[in-house]
Point group: C2
């Protein structure tokens, strides 16, 4: 029996399993701290395609095929796919998953999309709407720079508060078949807007949303911060993390010891010149698949709160002077 918890959460009765996952990433990610843990790497970041957008679609497809292959599941066995990306009209996903021919729900949650996809996959499995669901998301440095800033050829400079979009995709197979990781609950995020307008400081824009979702999760489930071996945000980066810590302290929680941010984990700040850290839908997805899930599988971490964070903006909203609100979804992952 599934239970509604508190204001925004669901606790699953028969918790769905996170059966398998896969990560695909680019050359810079390969050189980073998680390089050796990533399933598939491409050195020219084009993945055999002609454009950055096609390359991003290709990563999504490869991630899906790999995640399915690891579990020996064929695409036609997957009931529904939940996927999204950062590009306008989600074309990386539409063109990427098309060949799989799985009935699909297109999502947009900015860099929180992996959480959105995992939440809806788990909710659908727990409701009995199918045996297997697939969640997938991606980002690509080349396509994201073109989408949000300037084409790479312009060699634009960026402030130190800016983050570096991860070239990567992560796919996650959720279902009823046993594995060592369960999705025991979700906390669906609200849009949180502190009025910040600096799209080159997305960590600051997203930190209030991360805090809101973490605090709501702890309250909804009646847990302390130490109930989680790790609380893992998506891509707050160095500046966003310090703001998150401040918010949490103001509310009586110290999460400094058990907090990890995927944006700080995927690149080496000292040697890779990625400024505030990694970002993009692929940042949290690749880190979850390559680094976080293996630790939960082994039982090194028993319970983790995964909180990918998204900044809600477009070049149009930015140019028209709108603020950059944030959203974050919380996924409770447990070893079993």
């Amino acid at each position: 029996m599934n239970h509604i918890k508190g204001k925004q959460s669901i606790s699953f009765g028969e918790s769905p399993y996170l059966i398998s996952s896969a990560s695909v990433a680019g050359s810079k990610e390969a050189e980073g701290p998680l390089g050796k843990l990533i399933d598939m790497i491409n050195q020219d970041d084009l993945f055999g395609e002609k454009t950055w957008e096609e390359a991003e679609s290709r990563m999504q497809k490869e991630a899906c095929v790999l995640a399915l292959g690891k579990a020996h599941i064929r695409p036609e066995q997957v009931r529904y796919l939940f996927g999204g990306d950062l590009l306008r009209q989600g074309i990386a996903t539409s063109m990427g998953v098309e060949e799989l021919q799985i009935p699909m729900f297109g999502l947009f949650g900015a860099c929180s999309t992996s959480g959105e996809a995992l939440a809806l996959s788990a909710m659908s499995v727990a409701a009995g709407y199918g045996e297997y669901m697939l969640g997938v998301t991606s980002s690509h440095f080349g396509s994201a720079e073109k989408e949000f800033r300037f084409p790479l050829g312009y060699a634009s400079q960026r402030p130190l508060s800016a983050s570096w979009t991860v070239t990567g995709s992560g796919a996650f197979l959720v279902g009823t078949r046993k594995s060592h990781v369960r999705i025991s609950g979700v906390t669906v995020g609200k849009i949180v807007d502190f009025g910040l307008k600096d799209s080159q400081n997305m960590g600051a824009c997203m930190a209030p949303a991360a805090a809101d979702t973490i605090l709501t999760n702890l309250e909804d489930f009646g847990r302390s911060a130490s109930s989680y071996d790790r609380i893992i945000t998506g891509d707050l980066g160095y500046i966003g993390q310090s703001i998150l810590f401040d918010f949490m302290k103001q509310n009586g929680y110290d999460i400094e010891k058990n907090h990890i941010d995927c944006g700080m984990k995927i690149f080496d700040q000292d040697t890779q010149d990625t400024h505030a850290g990694g970002s993009g839908c692929g940042c949290a997805a690749v880190t979850l698949s390559s680094y976080v899930l293996p630790k939960i599988q082994k039982g090194e971490w028993k319970r983790v709160l995964f909180v990918p964070t998204g900044a809600l903006l477009s070049t149009v909203s930015f140019n028209e002077g709108a603020s950059v609100p944030g959203i974050a979804h919380g996924i409770v992952l447990e070893h079993c």
Copy 2:
């Protein structure tokens, strides 16, 4: 007990109710055949805002507030919101629903988004994830022309196969509280790609997806086309409709007598110069709320298959020579 049906469908045991809905639209829609049925109209299409994008957000908010108001439900009683639009990074939705502070899932399904939102709302209610869910979507002629073609000031001409983006938003409250309309089932669409590349003929691009979803729905539920009083597509328009009829005939179904297309219903082709018909997320949503639902409420139509259709493209995918695949989701609406 909810049941998985056939390849892509769900039949709900305790079917969720479509409790209330609201439509908001612009001046051209007000002059059209449905003008008098639309809840809120604005004559300058700016809805008191300064930009087309803000105007679109405002429409979404007004539609949500109206739909909630009709049912005497406060935003804090709504468990989750499912919403999306056509603009890059879904900003019409993010900025539109922000003030309601309902935990939300952002969607992208192009003009099929109303179906996606209704499907996920119904799936969540039927799973017991909350008493009330809100689905919302929108499009705006001014923001869509800027996003996909040229700013209105350029006064671009368009081919006769092009459709006219509806300025409008529809919001739908789905829940456990009784009304005269139930969502008894859904058929989740696949991406269907016939290789067409003409973004100025979206009806042709989407017709194969509409046919695929309708045929799958009939097969999954074991129904004949006449089991539905009406089969209502989103925005195929005149050209798309004739292609849909051909596809259906090839598969042994004649739906000419009970088919309606929202894109052909919302504007008067003879007097409004809208070429192939209306389109945009708002087209199907406004037509459903203002014209279709009242007929189901009254029992004039007992069972309707609502199939909003989306064309999956962006200016980038179009300029890079990609095809324009389609997707369509089927929602079974029944009088009760």
